[in-house]
């Protein structure tokens, strides 16, 4: 954890310095006594840099004994796969619209989470169609909202 904290603190300090640099490039027209739109980002960046320094100094204290964050490659891979699936859903919904891709997404999420022992094709299909129908009833019919439409066609 100490190593993680040191890296985190350095990243936060670096981010704070980047914000300071970006803030200094903001151009604006000043009113009478108004400190302008740079003040608040400077304030936020200053707190970030000071906090980063605080975390760095604390991580250096030998009496702070904390557990290290275990890096489980299998977990990262599974999380990554799921995240890619969500990203694909977002992209596909923009291209093909809500109704075309949602049953597939629900099926895929069900398939992934259920695992080989619990999953069944018909259950996934029913869940996918049921979810899509429920969202249609609640949002389109019930609340009169629009859902994403295909931009490809």
């Amino acid at each position: 954890m100490q190593r993680t904290d040191r890296i985190t603190s350095l990243a936060l300090i670096g981010l704070g310095l980047i914000v300071v640099w970006l803030t200094s490039r903001i151009t604006y027209t000043s009113f009478t006594d108004d400190p302008g739109p740079r003040l608040f980002p400077y304030f936020g960046a200053a707190v970030l840099i000071l906090s980063g320094l605080g975390i760095f100094l604390r991580a250096g204290r030998s009496e702070i004994a904390e557990e290290t964050i275990p890096v489980d490659r299998a977990q990262i891979r599974r999380g990554g796969i799921f995240f890619v699936l969500l990203a694909l859903y977002a992209l596909a919904m923009k291209l093909f619209g809500f109704y075309a891709v949602t049953p597939l997404l629900v099926f895929a999420v069900y398939w992934l989470i259920a695992g080989p022992k619990r999953r069944a094709v018909w259950r996934g299909a029913v869940l996918g169609l049921g979810c899509t129908l429920a969202v249609y009833l609640l949002f389109t019919l019930g609340l009169g909202s629009y859902l994403p439409e295909a931009s490809m066609f």
Binding site: T4, D5, L12, G79, A114, R119, C131
Partner: protein, 494 residues
């Protein structure tokens, strides 16, 4: 007044209030939706109604929505709206410990007490409290917001630096888009989607809902929590637990109603401040975050007390206390009613109708939730492979409906990734969210404070209330470091 009571119990009006209260609870419980969204969506429906009936419907949805937001927080760890973020901190651990019904019972009673008594206070004290609010200037508002953030950041007792780092990240995220007062574009890099800033709902659903689902899948979590419904009577909370929390309830109620009636603040802030205070003042702060009922009481009574609090400036001054009351205010004006000091004189029946509906709706909501609280946890018996796919879909649909563009999916995923990274490096998310919510208000008041006084920054320290709040903020940050030093000094002395 008697006419108003009669009209509330008119079968059609009563049915509308009941239906709207239930709809509010449902909307509040669904992540991404809220009673506020329900008020906005159904506002056009009221155009064809009598003003009193239309307002009754809107107020009932609002009351139901604020109360219903705790259901998702407790059962799924996903707050239905920002007003129930702090309810997650102990409500969800209680569910994981097999105490879902007890957590719901505590939240339901606290919600009812908060709403009911805050409405009574609002009805009696509106004119007096509204005068008080007008005496506060931007210096006090900035200091109050900063104090709230410092209090919540100091909850990370083992590392306040991480709490403050998280809060400053939230402040910087709030800077993206057009600056308040002068509208200067900041950190948007000429991107039209960034120029309007980040959306709170996308942030909340990304950080709570999608992050949780991705991490559960990554870890292979499949164990369902047990449910305590079978061995619970009444609300599932003992009289002793209510008695032990009496001061906690009173204090959190006070925080809720006070923050609610300050314009621009609301339940999203009050629940976290009340939670922070409850933890700080507790004899057993180590139990917080692990399923402590005190945290649920504090969060739920305060966010519902903000309902009455935000009605005070709306009714007495015509100033909305939060986003939802802004829509309600619009509803009043659309129906030809001018809110403000003359409302009591010109349209007393509207004032009585708003307060009467809120009280009736609070009673109906507590009855609906009492009979439903043993059914709600049925959701916990649903295996994750059936539960999570609809939540993923609702998260995407919720942010789309809120913003109206598919670009928001990118932000949703970005915030999910941010939530995962913050979890991995142990940066707490609550200071981040609170700072993001308060950022625009803080900046606006900071700049006004500089401009309105000839003393510039000095005015923040010379005005008594502002100075006291800033001192409390500094103390809450340094106290975790000071306390061990004081203890060591005491030990050496003895």
């Amino acid at each position: 007044m008697f006419d108003v009571v009669l009209s509330l119990f008119d079968p059609v009006t009563f049915a509308i209030i009941l239906g709207a209260s239930i709809l509010g609870v449902i909307l509040g419980a669904i992540p991404g939706l809220s009673g506020g969204l329900g008020v906005a969506l159904l506002l056009p429906v009221t155009f064809g109604m009598e003003p009193g009936t239309g307002l009754a419907m809107l107020v009932a949805i609002w009351i139901g929505g604020v109360s219903g937001a705790m259901i998702g927080s407790i059962l799924l760890g996903i707050p239905g709206s920002p007003s129930a973020i702090a309810t997650c901190f102990d409500g969800y651990p209680m569910t994981r410990n097999g105490e879902a019904v007890k957590a719901l019972g505590a939240a339901i009673t606290a919600s009812f007490l908060g709403t009911f008594f805050s409405i009574l206070v609002a009805a009696v004290a509106s004119p007096v409290l509204a005068d008080l609010a007008l005496k506060l200037g931007p210096w006090e508002y900035f200091s109050l917001g900063f104090c709230a953030i410092a209090l919540v950041a100091s909850l990370s007792r083992e590392n306040v630096g991480k709490g403050m780092a998280s809060a400053s990240l939230g402040l910087l995220f709030a800077c993206v888009g057009f600056a308040p007062i002068d509208g200067t574009a900041r950190f948007s890099f000429d991107n039209m989607y960034l120029s309007s800033g980040f959306d709170l709902i996308a942030m909340m659903l990304g950080i709570f809902a999608l992050k949780q689902i991705v991490m559960d899948f990554a870890k292979g979590t499949q164990d369902l929590p047990s449910v305590d419904a079978g061995r619970i009577s009444g609300f599932g909370v003992s009289l002793r637990e209510y008695r032990d929390n009496l001061w906690n309830l009173v204090r959190s109620f006070g925080i809720g109603i006070w923050i609610g009636f300050l314009p621009g603040m609301g339940a999203a802030l009050s629940n976290m401040v009340a939670y922070a205070q409850a933890k700080s003042a507790s004899k057993h702060p180590e139990k917080f975050g692990k399923g402590c009922i005190d945290g649920v009481f504090a969060s739920e009574i305060s966010n519902n007390a903000s309902v009455g609090g935000s009605l005070i400036p709306m009714i007495a001054l015509g100033i909305p206390g939060d986003g939802t009351t802004a829509i309600l205010l619009g509803g009043l004006m659309i129906h030809g009613v001018q809110p403000g000091p003359l409302l009591f004189t010109n349209n007393p029946e509207i004032v009585y109708m708003v307060f009467g509906t809120a009280l009736l709706s609070a009673v109906l909501v507590v009855l609906v939730q009492f009979f439903g609280m043993r059914l709600f946890p049925a959701i916990l018996k649903v295996p994750y492979h059936y539960l999570y796919p609809p939540i993923v879909v609702l998260s995407f649909v919720g942010v789309f409906v809120n913003v109206g563009g598919t670009y928001i999916f990118l932000f949703l995923l970005g915030f999910a990734a941010l939530g995962i990274v913050m979890d991995m490096v142990r940066l707490p998310v609550s200071p981040f969210l609170l700072a993001f919510i308060l950022g625009p208000m803080l900046e606006s008041n900071l700049r006004k404070g500089f401009t309105y006084s000839a003393d510039g920054a000095l005015a923040f320290f010379t005005r008594p209330i502002s100075a006291a709040l800033l001192a409390a903020a500094v103390l809450s940050i340094v106290w975790p470091y000071l306390r061990p030093m004081l203890r060591r000094a005491q030990a050496r002395a003895s």
